[in-house]
């Protein structure tokens, strides 16, 4: 499914969180959406998932305006939020069942898929425990499962690797490629740039609510004469000299001794 965003803006009083951005994501594409803290990434994702109403601009999903038919769009998207997002008094299995039922999936399918997701993520022994007893990584696995259980056409990942162990990260990266191969559109927000570089072909970099770069990673490296996405990002977002900053930081920590 295709995403078309035009002049998308979100204001809070005088503060502009997202400032008139426009882009398109093709079906089956994995788009990396990057930016420094407070750049407007999560606000963009919240608007694209129908959680937040834009101040201006339009969002079309497969040609349909999101604001005109939010339920149709929500039925077709999956979302892994950056924080929160679980009822911790439920067990892992119960939470996935609840989500499946909200999407009107058949009971047999929900049960099978929920158990299988838990098994694939190594949570089969914990599926009947309350989510409040899960570790951060385990909760993240449940969140990812809940975003995929209804077989969405578009998946929004906002820092999906948060708390996952190394093995789970490796599996997850392959899962993303597999989902894209199935024709699903992947919108991937992250600060872990080497993962983005390995998973995505194209990235959008946003800073102070505006798009400052949009294109294939290879093109961005070439035009900025940088060797890695991390260096591209540092150059485009005017990040301070890292080693100088680290020295100042260390001196501050040691102060008073």
């Amino acid at each position: 499914m295709k995403i078309q965003v035009s002049n998308l803006t979100k204001r809070y009083g005088d503060f502009v969180a997202v400032d008139g951005i426009s882009f398109e994501v093709a079906a089956g594409e994995i788009l990396g959406y990057l930016g420094p803290n407070g750049a407007g990434k999560s606000t963009t994702v919240k608007m694209l998932t129908g959680i937040m109403r834009p101040t201006e601009g339009s969002i079309l999903i497969e040609g349909r305006p999101l604001l005109d038919d939010p339920l149709w769009v929500k039925q077709r998207i999956g979302y892994v939020p950056e924080a929160g997002g679980l009822y911790e008094s439920l067990t892992g299995l119960e939470f996935l069942q609840l989500v499946g039922r909200l999407y009107h999936l058949p009971e047999d399918l929900i049960r099978d898929k929920a158990r299988e997701f838990m098994r694939l993520f190594g949570l089969e022994d914990s599926m009947d425990q309350r989510l409040s007893s899960y570790s951060k990584g385990m909760k993240q696995k449940v969140l990812i499962s809940s975003a995929l259980i209804h077989n969405p056409d578009i998946v929004f990942f906002d820092e999906p690797l948060s708390g996952l162990d190394a093995n789970s990260m490796l599996v997850f990266k392959e899962v993303i490629r597999e989902l894209a191969a199935q024709g699903k559109t992947i919108f991937y927000c992250s600060h872990i740039l080497d993962v983005v570089e390995r998973v995505c072909r194209r990235v959008i970099i946003i800073d102070h609510g505006k798009i400052i770069a949009d294109g294939p990673i290879a093109d961005l490296k070439r035009t900025t004469s940088q060797g890695s996405l991390e260096e591209v990002f540092k150059k485009l977002t005017d990040s301070a000299d890292v080693s100088e900053l680290a020295k100042t930081f260390g001196a501050l920590v040691a102060r008073g001794e």
Binding site: K74, I77, E94, Y103, S133
Partner: protein, 562 residues
């Protein structure tokens, strides 16, 4: 059948019925089932699991407290030989006010829950379905509270000479309708506020509503003895025109009709009760529910951004001085500063704490209006508002403060106290006591002295106010024995607040002895300083003991998770 296996057929059936109003029946059923399971699941349901069943326990305790209070109320009404109409009007009025207070105080979290929004907003759930689930969840709480408030009166009412055999059934059925009415009114109030104000303002307005309702409830306690004498023999047709606009009178009339006591005014008021329900519920679903998700979303998400812009320059230097002057010990000063800032800035906490002042305001008004009961207890006056005021004000302040202390919507920050190398956790409790003293007790003491100095010699006003303060301190020290956590480190739990407030109402009865004590002071003036010294000593000893108990509990807290 266990409660957590809440009748699935019932929610399915209601879902089907609501589907004609655009509610998704399946989503309604599953979301409501999940909400109820989360709230009422027992610890034993999942062996070896971490987690809590606080809402269930809190509701159970509240139910017991409410049952005791409603028993006392209904038995005293029965002893006063009132008629069935008067009996049901007063008991319904009491039950409806208590339900509204409870819902406003905390079950509002059921209707407006930022957590729910963040979990469900991106799912394909319509505003109407979401709203219907929230209202139904609220209704379950309301009906449970309603049942605890009206069960005993239903049985006591059965003993009236003119009560037919069906009295308890009719009474409980009408009480349930009154509960639905209260829940619908509160949901409508929330819905209307949602459409008109932002989240911060919304919380402020709810706080004002709480204060207003605290006033109404407490006013009821004051008016009740005066009212019973005047309305003892009232039947429906004797209802003063002013009382006919009060919902408890409508439902009491409906009860009379159900009992077979017909009258023209009764039929009219019953029709109003039924009509209000018939209009209110569909009206809610039609108007409020349509933009419900959008409104909550805007509120929840905008609040995050707005909060960052807040500036708290006002009074900064005074509070900084106060914080530094509070203690030389850094741990104690840290906790004092933290408490002070939270109590000044966190709206959720203020929302829970402000209503205590509602009671003080009512008492103050009574103090001003009720001149004949303003006899100076230290100079021959009768037992009246003069002895009640200081006791009640400090009692409610202490109980209210202890009730809000463990909970906050910022509970996740509590880890910093557990990871910090705290040498003497008892210092935390000392800081808590100092904060209560400065935030609540000092203003209340001054308010007391100012009020009573209008009626009594200033020395008597000071003495009685100090007497109340000392009892409040002793009460607070007792209440703190139940406090075993870092302040504001627990997620707000449904029911916990109501449980505390219900306990405070119950304690008022036990406080009769302290109210009567000043009568002894006038014949033996030396008893006053002796009593004051005893109270102070009691408060100090209790304080020393609870400091030790608290320190022990906090030291063990770090290992509790294991």
């Amino acid at each position: 059948m266990r409660f957590e296996q809440f009748p699935s057929q019932a929610t399915r059936q209601v879902g089907r019925w609501l589907s004609s109003w655009g509610v998704d029946a399946d989503q309604y059923h599953w979301l409501l089932q999940a909400s109820l399971r989360m709230d009422f699941r027992s610890r034993r349901a999942l062996p070896g699991q971490m987690g809590s069943n606080r809402p269930r326990t809190a509701l159970l305790k509240t139910g017991i407290f409410y049952s005791i209070i409603s028993s006392l109320l209904s038995i005293s009404l029965r002893a006063g030989s009132v008629g069935t109409f008067c009996f049901s009007a007063i008991t319904f009025g009491y039950a409806m006010a208590m339900m509204a207070l409870s819902i406003l105080m905390e079950f509002g979290l059921v209707v407006i829950s930022p957590d729910d929004f963040l979990i469900l907003a991106h799912r394909p759930i319509s505003s109407r379905t979401f709203f219907a689930v929230k209202c139904s969840n609220l209704l379950v709480y309301t009906l449970l509270l309603d049942f605890s408030l009206t069960l005993v009166p239903a049985l006591v009412g059965w003993t009236f000479p003119d009560a037919p055999w069906q009295f308890p059934v009719v009474y409980l059925a009408v009480a349930a309708l009154a509960g639905v009415f209260v829940a619908a009114v509160v949901a409508a109030l929330y819905g209307l506020l949602l459409q008109r104000v932002n989240y911060e303002r919304f919380k402020d307005l709810l706080a004002y509503c709480q204060i207003l309702f605290s006033c109404v409830v407490f006013l009821g306690y004051q008016l009740f003895p005066r009212l019973v004498g005047r309305v003892r023999d009232f039947r429906v047709e004797d209802t003063p025109w002013l009382a006919t606009v009060l919902p408890p009178a409508w439902f009491a009339s409906l009860n009379e009709i159900g009992l077979g006591h017909f009258s023209r005014l009764g039929a009219l008021m019953s029709a109003v009760a039924i009509l209000s329900l018939c209009l209110l519920l569909p009206g809610l679903l039609r108007s409020v529910s349509l933009s419900y998700s959008d409104r909550i979303g805007e509120m929840v998400l905008a609040a995050v951004k707005r909060g960052a812009k807040h500036n708290h320059r006002r009074g900064r230097s005074f509070f900084a001085w106060l914080e530094n002057a509070s203690s030389l010990d850094p741990e104690e000063r840290a906790m004092f500063g933290f408490l002070f800032r939270m109590l000044r800035r966190n709206r959720q906490l203020k929302l829970q704490l402000y209503p205590n002042f509602g009671i003080v305001i009512v008492l103050f008004l009574f103090g001003v209006l009720d001149h004949q009961n303003q006899g100076d207890p230290l100079a021959g006056g009768s037992l009246g508002i003069g002895t009640m005021f200081p006791l009640m004000a400090f009692l409610f302040a202490a109980m209210g403060f202890t009730a809000v202390l463990p909970y906050s919507d910022e509970y996740q920050g509590g880890w910093i106290f557990q990871s910090a190398p705290i040498a003497r956790p008892e210092r935390f409790l000392k800081a808590i006591k100092k904060a209560l003293f400065l935030v609540l007790f000092v203003p209340l003491l001054l308010l007391n002295i100012i009020l009573f100095s209008f009626f009594w010699p200033i020395l008597h006003a000071i003495a009685m106010s100090l007497y109340g303060l000392l009892i409040g301190l002793a009460t607070f020290q007792v209440a703190l024995f139940g406090f075993r956590v870092i302040p504001f480190s627990l997620k707000p739990e449904k029911g916990a607040q109501t449980q505390r407030v219900a306990l405070a109402f119950l304690m008022m009865i036990a406080y009769g002895i302290f109210m009567a004590l000043p009568m002894l002071f006038r014949s033996r003036p030396m008893l006053f300083p002796v009593s004051a010294a005893l109270l102070l000593a009691t408060a100090l000893i209790l304080g020393w003991l609870n400091n030790r108990a608290y320190a022990r509990a906090i030291r063990q807290l770090a290992f509790a998770a294991e």
